[in-house]
């Protein structure tokens, strides 16, 4: 079975973002960038399926700036077999919308014919939580979002999903799109020898023009602002003082 894993280069989850004062966006120059944490989980799951002998090939794809090669190398070091980079922009501040990403991925899926596409549930920069579902729709495939457990069986996958009331298990016919949630697995650390080995794995760089897909954004970001800030309040010395303040000052109990 062949697995395609879309991976996005995003601001590292440990970095505190700075919103530009002119409202034009977030300052992404000179900040640490990493593989989107959910995509790292998706890569890990694909690698485990390969280690179990279920998957035969893992292809990772990223769409964005040429610097996304770094995160593709990370995915290769984790155990992916080859990588595709779609050079879509030279501007590190340009985010490619999920609809455009899904269209590009659908085209790649038609060329690569994977049995399973394992994406992250959400990119931690735009927090959109949409690409996997959009891709499944465009391809006319079944989807299983927010996966915390995946079991591949003949012709289908059994997926346990994290939903609002608890967990739901569904069966989806292959080929399918599955999006990874936090509890699916704990990604491995990449070792130095594997990083060295990854440098020799194939990384195919393609231009957006070669795909002929229009990525003009449908949503125009007109303003990006800092949310209202909260300040530290009072220290209370005891449980009695806390109860008193909640009753008589805040009026919430």
């Amino acid at each position: 079975m062949k697995i395609l894993v879309p991976v996005k280069r995003v601001i590292d989850y440990n970095v505190k973002v700075r919103v530009k004062t002119d409202g034009s966006g977030v300052d992404l120059s000179n900040v640490k960038m990493s593989i989107n944490p959910f995509d790292e989980i998706a890569v890990e799951e694909a690698v485990r399926l390969k280690e179990k002998g279920i998957a035969s090939e893992i292809v990772v794809v990223s769409i964005g700036v040429p610097q996304a090669k770094d995160i593709l190398r990370t995915a290769l070091a984790m155990g992916a077999d080859r990588a595709i980079l779609i050079d879509a922009t030279a501007d590190v501040n340009q985010d490619i919308e999920p609809l455009a990403v899904a269209k590009i991925l659908a085209t790649i899926a038609e060329q690569e014919r994977p049995d399973l596409i394992l994406a992250g549930k959400q990119a931690i920069d735009n927090d959109m939580n949409a690409t996997g579902q959009m891709l499944a729709g465009l391809l006319g495939w079944g989807q299983a979002t927010f996966a915390s457990r995946i079991e591949v069986t003949e012709g289908s996958v059994l997926v346990t999903r994290e939903v609002d009331g608890g967990l739901q298990t569904i069966r989806v016919r292959l080929p399918a799109v599955v999006t990874a949630d936090l509890r699916l697995n704990e990604p491995r650390y990449v070792s130095l020898p594997n990083i060295m080995k990854a440098k020799k794995k194939p990384l195919d760089e393609r231009t957006l023009a070669s795909l002929g897909i229009d990525i003009t954004p449908r949503l125009r970001a007109t303003r990006t602002m800092e949310p209202p800030q909260r300040n530290a309040g009072a220290r209370v010395a005891s449980v009695d003082e806390l109860i008193d303040r909640l009753k008589n000052e805040a009026g919430v109990i």
Binding site: K16, V17, V19, V26, P98, L99, K121, I124, N126, D127, N129, A130, G132, Q133, M134, A136, G137, G140, W141, G142, Q143, T145, E162, V163, D164, G165, G166, L167, Q168, T169, I170, R171, R173, D181, L182, R183, P217, R218, L219, A221, T222, T224, M225, E226, P227, R230, N231, A232, G233, A234, V236, V239, D240, L242, I243, R245, L246, A250, V252, I253
Partner: protein, 309 residues
Amino acid sequence: MSVLLLGEVHNGHLATDAVARALSALASLDTRVDVLIMAGDGATAAQEASRLNGVARVLVAQDDALAHGLAEPAAALVVSLAPDYTHIAAASTAFSKNILPRVAALLDVMVITDVTAIRDAETFDRPVYAGNAIQTVTSTDPIRVLTIRTSVFQAVGQGEPAPVETVPPVADPVLSSWVEDMAVISERPELTAARVVVSGGRGVGSKEHFETIVRLADRMGAAVGASRAAVDLGYAPNDWQVGQTGKVVAPDLYLAVGISGAIQHLAGMKDSRVIVAINKDADAPIFRIADYALVGDLFTVVPELTAKL
């Protein structure tokens, strides 16, 4: 202009609070809103929806394929109704986030998730970067597909029932099938609707000790929340996770116990009216946003608080 609002159904009942909050968000559009019920048996939920203020009409689609929120048949049905609407909306939940991006792609439009303000028919605010920035976006699409962050809006009231109509089901593409739900039925208030939320983190130490948090919550009539660390470690179920990638809450009172205050957690609770933090580390980041900070060991503080309330 007209809106189609998805009305989520659980065990035959409407997720009334979520739908009522979404209705109040949509009120600023000042246009007709039809609620769509998709269920195996939608009769009760349709009646519940029909009584909410601001509903022009309730549409009910009943089919076994629609009983479990599977994305493919639900999206196909919504797409079949889309030509009559300028906006397709839902409360931002696991149910709608599963379906609406698929709907948007099938309509060749972008989805706008987690809307926190509707400025006009095409302009919306939504948080990005774990709520560290609020972006205003203008849609250039002919149909706007959005999910609404309900914690920001008050629920509408109830009044005279609106008419209920049946809509024909569409053929299920049968790409997926439901196997089972492992739902925890609880008497406690729902996390996203509760007036008080008590959350525990890694500091609570074990599943057994998490009972201390649950006892305090029950004493206060509160919902129980958890940090990602507490869920990952198995102290609490997944649907209690509050944060960037969990549930977003804004209760009158939020108590964070043994939670350090990572930005991903703050993203899910920093709009609460009053925040109390209990932590043994006087420098814990959670204290920077807490209205009341109690530095101490949760194992003495929480039982004392529970006893004295």
